[in-house]
Symmetry: C2
């Protein structure tokens, strides 16, 4: 049975190091054990595989909200406000802050964590920054794994916040059941988000910093974009909400919009479909990454050098060189 | 011995269909045989592999000029002007017009060919549009193959013109010994090109339509960009030339700039290095494409469905599913 709250952080206590024991402890609410499991996931390797195996068997139906948007749009402040909303409803919440641009935790994410630290002593809140540290599938697959782990240890709701607007961020946001895209008054931001395809994946738009000029125009622009995007009659029509993250204004409305999407997606079956498609895509991505990895392993060593030299000497063509290198595995 | 000119197109003559005989005929100057070999390359498959094998053994040191830039910048008109320059020097020239956005030849490229048709009856000119028609490696690898084939049949100079500005176009342009990037007066174009990374790969910039307002500003912008890009003292510094493609003005200057780059790159060894690196990259790309292809083959069928269903039923994790699917090949 998963614990309804997290133990305080306590680095002095001795803890197990094997994934099975850590998982039992994390499910019992031990914060440090969960942190260690997430480190395993970040690093990839055998322990990560073991964690993946255990998590898959214990996964429940935790709800996952993705929060994305351009840097400086106020995602962390909003995430913090959402944590507040959830805690007032008595819901336990886990937060993953993901920065694809940073190979190690630090910088912006550390700053973000500071902004969330009003929740740091709350036993119902678990906050974790994630960076890629060797996970074969990169940050997107590592995030899927981390989301599944948090679900498996009994956390009912996970907020995944990404930093930046790029293809990787879009991929990571797609791990969520409800995708929140944060923009600011002024169309520049939205244009930047649009480039990466963020606007297309939004279930809820937040115009944050809504106390600034231009908010009405931005709302009209988003509405116009939605009108042009030919949403089917029965399908979910992305909601637009306004917030002022710094004061918490609008946070309840944001949570209501997220909940409305969740209810709609549960009712019409699109949530189940999305989750299924996500898992299928994940499997396909893992297979691609493993083959790429194998290709990198193949393209090295003496035989590789020798074959390349024959090719460079024009005594054979690259296709037959590739055949020879791949002979053992294809 | 390769023929110094191409036979007139003559669809009525019976020709061989096997790659070896076609190659001998193409090397003897038979235009239709060369066209058929290029069709094989486009289509991929066994004949393409045979063509690759033959071409690799006969490759010489044809010079390859890539011409790229935003749609409407005037690339075809410039290409036509370059053909004129080369022909006046008595140099035989082959042109590949590549359109990654079109699965079949037609549309814009047909229009472009019309613009080049003043050279259509010239026995020293061979013009061919290329699109991808099933080649495993996509248009970029098919272009490498076509460039090598033109070299192998004895054509001393190939112009590769791409349509559009995207990642694929950048990849294709990288097949060239000298990369010409065409912009127009007005910075918008250059910004668009910059997004895709075209400006970074240019050896020669052409400001085409240089009779239009804004040409001085565009030149200053490009110069400023070059100043900021920290080019090593001995390295080639991209030249900027102005042309008016429609009148042919500046075409000789463009050819001089291309020749200057060629001489510099030959002298300092960077041409040889670039060609070697290109071939290495090509081999790596072929290996990646073949593994991806294999992954697509694997991810299908009854076993694939069964494994996915186990995963969707949460009875196993995606990593172990991937292991099972890849068991035979990794």
């Amino acid at each position: 049975m998963a614990s309804p709250k997290w133990s305080p952080s306590d680095a002095m206590t001795r803890r197990p190091t094997n994934p099975d024991d850590l998982f039992v402890a994390a499910r019992g609410g031990d914060r440090a054990s969960l942190a260690r499991l997430l480190s395993y996931v970040e690093r990839g390797g055998d322990e990560a595989r073991a964690v993946a195996r255990i998590a898959a068997l214990h996964v429940g139906s935790a709800y996952v909200v993705g929060i994305t948007g351009a840097p400086g749009a106020g995602k962390s402040t909003l995430t913090s406000a959402l944590i507040g909303s959830l805690r007032r409803q008595g819901v336990r919440v886990a937060v993953l802050a993901i920065d694809p641009s940073s190979p190690f935790t630090g910088g912006a994410i550390l700053g973000d964590r500071v902004r969330m630290q009003s929740h740091a002593t709350d036993a119902g809140v678990f906050i974790r920054s994630m960076a890629t540290r060797g996970h074969l599938g990169g940050l997107s697959l590592a995030t899927s794994e981390a989301v599944r782990l948090l679900d498996a240890v009994g956390s009912p709701c996970t907020l995944v916040e990404t930093v930046g607007v790029g293809q990787v961020e879009v991929e990571i946001a797609r791990n969520a059941d409800t995708i929140v895209v944060v923009v600011n008054p002024g169309w520049g931001d939205s244009v930047q988000a649009n480039k990466a395809g963020l606007l297309e994946i939004a279930d809820v738009f937040v115009i944050n910093k809504a106390d600034r000029p231009g908010v009405d125009q931005t709302q009209r622009d988003l509405e116009q974009m939605l009108e042009l995007s030919e949403i089917a009659t029965d399908a979910w029509r992305p909601k637009i909400v306004r917030t002022v993250g710094t004061t918490g204004e609008g946070a309840e409305g944001l949570w209501q919009a997220i909940s409305a999407h969740r209810e709609h997606a549960t009712r019409d079956g699109s949530l189940a479909k999305r989750r299924e498609q996500r898992l299928r895509n994940e499997l396909r991505a893992i297979i691609e990454r493993r083959l790429e990895h194998r290709a990198r392993e193949i393209c090295t060593g003496e035989r590789w050098d020798a074959i390349q030299n024959e090719m460079l000497a024009r005594s054979r063509d690259p296709w037959s060189c590739a055949d020879e290198m791949l002979a053992g595995i294809l």
